[in-house]
Every structure is written in C-alpha cells, then in structure tokens.
Symmetry: D2
Amino acid sequence: MIPRYCPEPFAELWSPAAKYATWLDVELAACTAMEHPEAALVPPGTAARLRGACLRLDPARIDAIERTVKHDIIAFLTHVEELGGPEARWLHFGLTSSDVLDTSFALLLGRAAGLLAERLDRLIAALARRAQEHAATPMIGRSHGMHAEPIAFGLALAGHLMECKRGRARLRAAREEIAVGKLSGAVGTHAHLSPAIEARALASLGLRPETAATQVVARDRHAAFFAALGLLAAGVERLAVNVRGWQRSEVGEVAEGFGAGQKGSSAMPHKRNPIASENLCGLARLVRGALGPALENVALWHERDISHSSVERAIAPDATTLLGYMLERAAELVTGLEVFPERMRQNIEASAGRCFSEAVLLQLVRAGLGRQQAYAIVQRAALAPPGMGQDFRARLGADPEVAALLAPADLDRCFDLAHALRHVPALVSRALAAE
Amino acid sequence: MIPRYCPEPFAELWSPAAKYATWLDVELAACTAMEHPEAALVPPGTAARLRGACLRLDPARIDAIERTVKHDIIAFLTHVEELGGPEARWLHFGLTSSDVLDTSFALLLGRAAGLLAERLDRLIAALARRAQEHAATPMIGRSHGMHAEPIAFGLALAGHLMECKRGRARLRAAREEIAVGKLSGAVGTHAHLSPAIEARALASLGLRPETAATQVVARDRHAAFFAALGLLAAGVERLAVNVRGWQRSEVGEVAEGFGAGQKGSSAMPHKRNPIASENLCGLARLVRGALGPALENVALWHERDISHSSVERAIAPDATTLLGYMLERAAELVTGLEVFPERMRQNIEASAGRCFSEAVLLQLVRAGLGRQQAYAIVQRAALAPPGMGQDFRARLGADPEVAALLAPADLDRCFDLAHALRHVPALVSRALAAE
Amino acid sequence: MIPRYCPEPFAELWSPAAKYATWLDVELAACTAMEHPEAALVPPGTAARLRGACLRLDPARIDAIERTVKHDIIAFLTHVEELGGPEARWLHFGLTSSDVLDTSFALLLGRAAGLLAERLDRLIAALARRAQEHAATPMIGRSHGMHAEPIAFGLALAGHLMECKRGRARLRAAREEIAVGKLSGAVGTHAHLSPAIEARALASLGLRPETAATQVVARDRHAAFFAALGLLAAGVERLAVNVRGWQRSEVGEVAEGFGAGQKGSSAMPHKRNPIASENLCGLARLVRGALGPALENVALWHERDISHSSVERAIAPDATTLLGYMLERAAELVTGLEVFPERMRQNIEASAGRCFSEAVLLQLVRAGLGRQQAYAIVQRAALAPPGMGQDFRARLGADPEVAALLAPADLDRCFDLAHALRHVPALVSRALAAE
Amino acid sequence: MIPRYCPEPFAELWSPAAKYATWLDVELAACTAMEHPEAALVPPGTAARLRGACLRLDPARIDAIERTVKHDIIAFLTHVEELGGPEARWLHFGLTSSDVLDTSFALLLGRAAGLLAERLDRLIAALARRAQEHAATPMIGRSHGMHAEPIAFGLALAGHLMECKRGRARLRAAREEIAVGKLSGAVGTHAHLSPAIEARALASLGLRPETAATQVVARDRHAAFFAALGLLAAGVERLAVNVRGWQRSEVGEVAEGFGAGQKGSSAMPHKRNPIASENLCGLARLVRGALGPALENVALWHERDISHSSVERAIAPDATTLLGYMLERAAELVTGLEVFPERMRQNIEASAGRCFSEAVLLQLVRAGLGRQQAYAIVQRAALAPPGMGQDFRARLGADPEVAALLAPADLDRCFDLAHALRHVPALVSRALAAE
C-alpha cells in the first residue's frame, strides 16, 4: 500500500489495529455461541467480560510476542490473556488459527468490497450524468484508431457505464462468494465444536459457514474475488485508454481537468497531459496482476499449507486499495472532463464524408449491385492518402457507375449525420435504465 | 490445440467448417429478421434460398480469397456470393464484420461452455460417489504437509466436490455473460439496421443484444468467461496436487489407476506414477495463463481495435479444449482412484496419538489451566524428532502437571478417533446435497 | 500453433516427424559414445546400423503404441525395436526418458532460436534502413500522447532498433542457457553411464552437460529462454503501438502498406487500418503470456515431476512460432511503412511554436529569472484549449516580463527547429553502429 | 512493502529520503558537468554551493508542494529553490523530469541489486556448505513424488546451488542492463544539453548513457531486470517445495529449524511445520507476479506515457524487498536445516530394492534380452500395491527367465548402493567449483 494511492478508509481498514479488532470480534462471536445454553461450553457472560477487558489491544505488544512464538494468532491470544486474565482461556476454545484468520478475512474483504461498491457507484453516477449530457453530441467513431462512422460521445460513455454496471454485478457476486467463515477447527471436522455453534457465531457476524472446509475456507472463493477486481480495473483502464486517445494533441476532443497551479512537465511549460488516465492504466496492471498469485493460492496442499498467507498479506490490501483509488480518480476524471463538441464536429468533417461510405455502399446494393462490386466502387473513391483529402463526395458524384444507379439526391441522403445517429439517444437511455 | 489434449467434440467445435457454418447462421438470422414485414428491408425468402445455395461452404476457397483481401469476413462473403449469386448481396446488409464475428463467438463459446458443463457434471458425479463411499474412511488430516488431526477421506473429496460445484455456478454465470450478440453495425449506432431487427435476429439464435455496443461486444464479458475457466482449472489442480501428495511412496494412501501394459518409466520398471495428476497441474497453468491476455484484451481503443482477435484465436479454442480435457481426465482419475484405507489407518497411528494433542489441550483448559500453560505442557510431550516417536501418550501420563488435572480415563477419552469424526458423515451429506 | 500465424519452418520444426528424428539423434549419439573404446559398453557399429534401419520412423505407429503403454518415449523405443531388431536393445541403455526428451528439447529450442535470430536480424536491418533514411525527418515528439518537442522520425526508429538489438543479445544469452543436455540417467547420478560418455555424446550434438542434473535439465533455463522471447515480443509491441498512434486519422504521419485488392472493413469501404500493428499487439500478449506458466514450471518436485511437460508441449511451439511470425510481420511492416514527412511538418506547426516552450524557459533562466518564475510566465502564454491556438509566440512577445529580459531576436532564436535537432543525426548514427 | 517481509536496508533504500537524496545527486552531477570548461553553461562552484545548501531536504515539505503542482519533480525543485536560493535556477537546466527520475531509478535499482547480490551470495555459501557436508549422504531420489533410484542429499543441494549460481549470473547481467541513465532532455534529442555533458555526468554516477533514448530509458531494460528477479524467486521456490516434500510427516528426512518457544499451531501443540518454506513459496508468487506488469510497461506511447510510473512505484520496492527477504530466509533455512540421514536410509530400504530395478533391467539387456522383454520381466516382479511390499529381490530370484540369464551373484550386484552413487561426490565437487 503506497500512501500516494491509498484513500484513508482503506488505510484504516487494513491497519494492524483493525485486524486485531476483527480477530477479537471473531473470537468473541465464537465464545458467545459457546455460552449459548444449547452448547453450554463456556460460562455465561465470559465474552462480555473479555470484550470489556480487551478494549485496548496493543499491536506493538502483539508484534513483540510474535517475535518469540513466530505465530501471529498465538501472539494475539497471549496478549489477550495478559489483558483478560484466566477467563481468556475460553477464547479460541476448539478453534484453530485459520478459523479466526479466515473468518476475519471474510469480514475485512467484505468491508473492502463495501468501500469499493460506494466508489463504483460514484463512478457509475458520473458516467451516467455525462452520458446523458452528451447523448446527442456527435463524435467520429473510430475503429483501429481510424475514422469509422459517427457516434455520439454519450454513446461511448454509455458503453463504459454498462461495463461498470457489469463490474458492479460481478463485485456483488464476488462479495457473496467470500462472505463465508469457518469455525470447524483444525481440519474442518468440528471435532471440538459442533456445526451449530459455528452457524450461530457466523450468523452473528453476517457470514455463512464454509460447506465443506479443510483447515481453511477454500481459496477459489478469494481468487474469484480478485478476478472481479481485475475485471473492474480492466474496465476502468479501457475508459482511461479512450480518454488518452481523445485528448491526444491532434484529436483534442476532451481534456482532463487541470488544476490552478498544476504543471504538466518540469521541462516544457506548454504541457497539459492526461496523467490521471495514464495513472489509471498503470494501476490497472497492478490490480490485474494480483490475479495470478491469487489463482496460484488455490491449490493448497491437503487440509492447507500456509503459502497463501504471504500472498494475501500483500494482494488483499494492495489490490483493494489501488482499485479504490482508481475508482475515486476515475469518477473525478469523468466529472471534471472537459469536452469540446466543436472539435469533435471538425474531426468528423475532416474525412470529407468518408465516414458515410457504408451508406453509399448500401444504397448501391439496394439499387441492385453486388456487394463486392459496390464495395470496389466506393473504395476507389474513398481511398486516399492518410489525412484523407477533400474530394470523396465529389469523386462519387463523378463516377459513372454510381451516377447510373443513384440520383444526386439519393447520394446526398447518404451523408446525413442526423439520420446516422437517430437511434443513439434511445441507446443511451437504455443504458441509463439498465441495472 | 494439441491433438494429445483435444477431445473430439472440441476439435469439431473449433474447426474452420464449424466457424464458417456459424457465420452463415448469423448472416441468415440477420437476413431473416430483415425480411420480417416490420423491417421489409430484404425480399421474403432470401435467407431460405441462400441457406440452400450455401449448404457446402468450402473453407479452402475462403482461405484462398483471404490471401488477397486480407480480411476473413470479406473472404467468406465473397465465397457466399460465388455460391448464392446476386441475392447474396443482401447478406451482411448493414452489418459490420464484428457483428458476425462476435455473435458467432457467443454461439461457439456458448457451445464450448455446454461441453464443459457436461464434463464438469461427470466430474461432480464422480466426486460425489467417492465422497459418499469414503464418508467414514479415517485418514490423517494434514496441514503444512504434516500430520494434524484425523479427517475422513470422503470429507477431503467433499471439499473438492464443493469447489467443483462453485465452479459450475461460475461457469453458468459466465456463460450468461457471453450469451450476447450484436447486429448494431460498424460503430454500434444502428445507423443502418434498427434495434428491433437486431433483437429479433439474436433471439432466434438464443442471444441477447449488447446493451451499449461499440463495434464489438465488450471484452470484459469474455475476460470474465476466461476467469471462470481459470478458476475451474485451479480447482482441478488442487485435487491433482492432493492426489500427488497422497500417492507419494511414503504416504501410499491412494494410487491412480494403472492400465494393463502401462509403463511408468522408460528406465525404471518398478515405477508407477501419478501422471494424470501431474498432467492436470501442468494444464492448469495453461488454462490459468489464458486469463492475462484475456484481461489485456478488454481495453480496446475507442470503438475497437483488432488486437483482441489474434489472442482469441488462440485462447478460446486452447483454454476451452484443455479444460475440457482436464475435466474428462479428472473424472477418470477420481473414478479409477485406488484407495487404501488400511494404509490410511497406519499413517494415523504412526504419530502415536499426537494427532489428538488438541483434545488434551482443551481438556486441560476445561480443567482450569490457562491456554498457553496447557499448550506448553502438551507441546513438551509431543515434540519429538520428525517421524515422531512412540511415546506421546505415555509422556503425558507421566507428566505430574497433567496427572494433577486429568485422571487416566479422562486422558484416554482424548484419543478417541470415532469421537473426533462424529460430525463428518453429516458434513459429507451436506456437501452432497448442496447445489 | 495456429496455421494463420505459423511460418513454414516453424511448422516443420515442431512436427512429430522432427521430434522423433531428434529423439533418434540423441539415442544414437549416446549409443555412439557407448561404443567408444574408453566406454566399450556397446558393440562397435551398432549406432550406424540402427541409423540405417530407422531411416523411416512412422509417427502414426508410435502414437498407436503409446495408446497402450501411455509413455511416449517407450512407444518410440518399441517402434525402434520393431525396425532395428535385437540390436535396438542397446538404445536407451542406461538412459531415462528425460535424457532423451530434454536433450532433444535443447536441440529443438536451439533451432527455434536460430529461426528467430534470422528473423530478428531482418527486422533489425529494416529498422536500420528506415532510421537512416529518416535521420533528419522532423516529427513532433510526443509525451503522454501530447506534443512535446521535435524529434526526427529516424530517432524514434533508432530507439526501436536499439531495443531489438538488446533483444538480440538476450536471445543469444538465452540460447546459451538452454544449450544443455543430460545423459546422466534416472536421477542424474550417472549410476549406469559415466560423465565421460555424457560429455562425448552431448559434444557431438553441440551441447554442454547440465552441471548438476536431477532427472531433468533445470527448468529455470527454459523459463529464462521464454523471458527472452517475452521481452522481444514486448519490444515489437512497442513499435506496433507507436505505428498505431502515428497512423491515427488525425495524426496521419505513417501508414501501413495496403495491398492491391485489400479491404479494410466489411462495412466501410473507406477504411484502411493499421491491422498488422494491432495484430502484433495481440500476439505480444500471447508470447508474454507464456512466461507465467514457464516460471511455474521451475519448481518441479524433487528429482522432477511431469507437470512441466504439458506446458512445454504448448508454449514451446506456440511462443517461438508466434514470435517468429511477429518478427517476420514486423520486418514487413517497417519495410513497407509509408511515411508522410509533409504531414509530420504540419503537425509540428500545429502547436504554433509551443513545442519550443522549454527553449524560452531556459533563455529566461539564463537571463537570471528563477526557474519556477520563468515557468509560470511561459506556461501562462502557452496554455490554451486543446488543439492549441495560434498565438503562443505573439503572447510571449507581448508579455512585459519577457520583453524586459529577452530581445525579440533572442526570443526568435528559441524557435529554431534545426538547432533543436542538431544532435539527432549523430544519435541515429550511434544507434546504427552499436552492437 | 510489508514490514514483516522488509529487511532494514531495503526499507532505507526505498524511503522518500533516499529518493530525494538520489534526485539531488543526479541534478548535481548534471550541474557539475555543465560547469565543466568544455560546456561552461553554469558558473563554476554552483553545484558545490547547492550541495551545501540542500543538505537537509524535507520530504514532508516536498509532499506539500506536490499537492498543488501535482508533479513530484517540480515539487522537489521548488523545495530546492527554497533552500538554495537564486542559484538553484541552474538545477534541472535543460533536463526533463525523466532525466532525473530514470537516472535515479538506475542508481536505486542498482543498489537494490547490490543488496540482493550480497544475500544471494550468502545463500550460495550456505548451499555449498550443506552440499559438501552431504555429498555422500544417501537419499532416495524421487520422480513424480515416487521412489526412483538413490541419490545423495548433497547432490540435490548441488542442483539448487547451481540454480542459484545461474540466478547470480542473470542478476549481474540484469544489473548491467539497467545501469543506464539519460540526461538528453525532454524527448531524448539533446536539444539543450550535449551528449558530452550527459556522458560526463553519468560517468560520475557510474552509469552509461541510453543509446537512443526517448523521454525515458527504455523499459525493456527494467522488464529484463524483473525477469531476473522472478527467475531467482522461482529457484528459491523450487528449494522450498523440496524442503516441504522432505519434511512431510511420512518422509521425515529434514526439518526446518524450530526456535525455543516457537509454536507450530494455535490449536495443535504437536505441530512443527515447514513454515519458512511455505512462506517462500507464497513470496515467490508475488515476485514472479511483478513480471507481468513490468512487461506491460514496455510499450509506452511514443516518447513515453506515464503509465509505467505507478507500476514501478509498487513493483520496484516490493519485488526487490520481497526477494531480499526471501534470500535471507532461504539462507537461514538451509543453514538451520536439520537433516536425518538415518531416516533417509530407512526410506531407501522401504522399497525392498525396487530402486535398483533399472540395474536389473540393464543386466538382462546385457545378457541379450530385448529391452521391452526385460522390462516386462522386471516390472512384473516390481509392481505391487503402493507402499511396496518386501519381496522384489526374492521374486526376481524365483523368476525362471531371470534365473536363466543371471546368476544369483550377478543379480546381487545390481543392488549395490555404493556402486550406484560412485560418481556423485565428483558431481557435487563439480558444482562447488563451477562459477
């Protein structure tokens, strides 16, 4: 976690203090379930008394103990015994470290998912606003980076909007997948605590029990979670790549906001660069990059080995935090994006009507020409050096084969921007309305 | 696609013939929708006549044309014009290549998902059978590769069963994600064909329209699909790693089936190796490896660039086929796995009761000892050179601190295998019943 | 290996016939070394006679045998016994399958490296030619996709040239790393054949012995090889991304060659797209993607497990072939690239001199102004809506703070393109001369 | 960078203070070169005076300035102007941010490589010591996790030793690749500073100039560096996987050191686990995982975009630090590894001679039998339920086909452990002596 890219709530979420507090929550939830009359393993009131005694856990003390015992949960429990006295022996009763760690991990990752969802909602709202605003702003569509046919800028944003909405649905599903704890003991057999105790304790934490646990909650769940993060990051990256393309000097259709006092280059005072978008592209590489290690974590040996642990210590805070930062920054980017409709229109016009070549092709087909024949005729008129000359419409008009089939007015109708975009506002509306 | 790892139905699915046939299906579905009286763009009966004329597409001819035009869809259409005559000009009317390619891709990937689902169901059935068979077969549980507490072999299989069931749910969701086509034209604006035509044509193919398309169906959908494949592969890998561990010479608890006439090593006639499991581990690396390129495919430039195309030509057949092979081979592996309960029991016994150390610890806690104190006492008795000596129970009995708190009978009760496994059959049943 | 992306020599190299022939070469090299008087393990002339008898190996027959024995090397040996008769028993004497497989793999990968090196040399030559040709062709330099300061087009190519030369050096080093065989038997102990026999046989094949083998040649060597391929692919990708940027409709500084009869889009006849470059970007994802599995192959269990095998069956042919195709296509791309110096000059001029803003800044610093002060003055004059207005030089001239420090002639000297590029031809020459 | 896995020197190396100090070094080296009489761009003594004025850079102040200017180098320079006064305007003269950043990055990464090299040397020394110690300690060799033929434990370690030595050679080469700076200005053209100034300044820092720079040093160099780290990590992982296999309860041939007071499990006091090795496996996933993003960083747009920056902020400290920790921990692991030769011998004996099956096979071949015939005979005697019965030698002796060809004494000679290992000490010595 790099401070530069770490929104405050993520710093807090992944702090040692939050981790130990969550461990304590899990231990006390288990203890409370063991106090329940049906279980009656632990004297009533124990959890409540320990909660009081342990209000101030000391992370530094826990770290110091760990240096001797080389086991983080044991260090934590030893510290809790220091604070809680003899009654603390009831904590961790029948549990194994992974019961606490994995159940806590579910809680922490779940909270991270919540923070991500809030930020994603803001990005979705920003995209929706701008998509609506520009539902009828003509822009040249580009395939292969080359002018294709016209679109509206709002339609491009609607595509990103839908991608974010799909990402939201995946994030929800992934959050469900990891909302699973376990208190089934050392090898998942409930040798010391019954399934009923587990069910009761986990329910109090808002979690379901792992159906058939080993020592741990199965890691395919977490890998699926990181896949959802990677997909979201890839979606934000697509938006960022597009902004970078639209802002290029020669294109000039949008510009990232530029703060008062901001400087674009240490050397060149004239520079104003799409640095937010570039930053998002880099961060996406990192978030996507977490998926490889997460997938390698799945095949733990037998009831488990501990190789996943170091991986998760890194990727869980890193990937969630970086994605949280990405979503915040992307929402700002979209909100603050300057849009230049006039330049968009100039760019459309720069192709001298070539962006309507398909309309001519289809008119010729309708007039009875074979498709490949018609294609050859239009292509002949259209191909020109890059930068595209000014003579497409004229060449077509002068072509005897075209003239034989299309009256000048028929030909003119092919170059109708409004007609080309007639369905677009409805498409944008459909995206705004979609889940 | 390597013949060695390519089940027949996948070879067929990804053949050029199947590809071109699917393209034709899409073109004809679009054509039919354009014939519909509400659209009336194309003369009635055109699609039916072209279907008849194009029964025998010639992949070699299409390839030959492509060498000139350097565009696969145009080559296909040119060949269709050769077969279908002038009426063929109505094919591809208002469409762009990606309309055909992406819609076809949805159909092909969907069929691949179907083939995978069948194979996964067979693996799930095999795991369920063996889990039930061994729901009460005791085995030592292992964490860190070291003896932990007893489990039943069926419980370990139930864990794999659940992982496969989760994989099945993810595969279904991923299949839904990619069951999306588009016929919205060059840049997704429906400039030449209405949304109604698209909806009608796609419905006839069993697909939904992309909500806000660019030139293509958004690639996050496909990346999500490959993520589901990667997760499944990782789950099969976990099973394979476990079999490899259980079969090791010193462990000897299971053995992969070994055919009559099979040879394990060219040099050493005594060898019998878990090669299926090792093969599954390698293949999992490949299937997981498809995910990186799939995620990089998401951020296409603007309405799209074509960088995804070569990637998909490789990973779509490769990842689905390899996973199909993996699922088949894993099902055979599970079905044919030889299991040695006697050896499992010997292994449990080899620790001389150390696998019950937690039960002793908890008894001491119940008797009032602090957890860390109790731990120290039991650890002292348990730690021994690797291979673990024969004296754990005896050392405990001789320990005055233990004797002061636990009567010999209390101590004996800690070493009760049946008690330790009392909940396990119910856990296995739960997994069998789960979705 | 996809036919579309498979140059002929690679298809041949990775054919079953070539594989079996190479296995035979290795077996016969070992046999010959065993015939040597110092070893005298095998009757003289055996290898020569077997070579004669086995001239026509039958891949289909080997495959048929493998279906029973489930071991490819044993199937091969059985077939060789069919052809060679009783003397064939001397083949594989003291060897294990991996001796043959890994030594053959070194030979095949080495040949692949040779094919790659030839193609890389052609790309290097093409880049060198075009870099020299355009060593003095002014072009706007771009950082963040935005106009920066002028460069020459040849300098950009020289950067790619150097990257390819570094890639060549890495490919050579990687080829050295894998030019290693082993004939040390089942677990690398030379239990049955002496190190001297191994050394003699490998030398005859142009290979060195693995220093301390297990059953196999260590897989870090191969992972290093695939890393070299991935790095080369990434370098080609950078070139391709740049071409795509330079060819964008609004930029128009270069264009990929476009064949007679070629069609850019099935829908839009006016299209002419940088499809070679896009294709190279996609293929780079695949070649880079081989590295993950290659690295996972390193940690084989103990003397080895066979999980690497399936991975290598896929990535060795695929990554080398795809990269071979990439290098061929990149060389064609560079050779055939149309370059438009006039458009480059227009693009430089479009910023109305802003690309010289640093020169003004430095003049003001020289004149005694603090850097940040000078920066603010120049930035004020330079910042303008995207697309950049026409008034930068004028605004500067009118700025009293500037006027106080710089005479108009001093200011004018800042806008000197030739001065800005005075060192460039020497830089290009340096790159041409470098190794 | 996770404190848990961060050796002190790495924490220091990657601290903000070290970063800013290195930036200053680079700026002052450039300034000094500009003072040189041949350049005479800057008044003599400027660098020395600024060095004095800037002894105490304040990272917090720099961060505060950055929040306004949103550019880290400009923030740094602004702070330096605060400390250094008017003369500070000579800093950064003719430079661009990347000149400073990339040159500094070369220095920092180079130092990281130095720290890694020290740690790797210690691991190599530890492996060499233990390999020598156990050059004649018999151990069963294992392929596929199954008993193969005997090796010596020292030979297995020698394999790891050689892998580390190869990793050392790669690390050195990679360090050379990134020992490159640039001071060629905004787009690498030396528009404002001559190549001579760059050469002089970089030489004073121990670096070479980038041959043909863009705005940045080419990122394939850094990707190659991260590849070298990933390969090293994969090598350490292989060692760790092997230790985990050797320590498994049933195998028991080695054990990781276990500190006084250490606890292996919070639940099970008897546990003693190979946690260092498991930790190394997890960390290797992370270090290998840095390579994907590093390779994606290569294809920066044109003279560069800034997408690589965030990636490097994460992976440069993370991958070097984690690998540094890995190397330290691996060296401790090897040094402290408990080895149990007696258990190794028992494991060899457990196969009742099957590990010599190849010797019998070869004797039969020598006696004139066809290889596949001989194989069938030995396999028949050897195959038995896993765990391998006690009757291999006996069955062979009783086999009439064997008896017809081999006298009992001939057969006995096949089972000679010393003979099987006769070459091993020399192989270990060869590895110790190798570079």
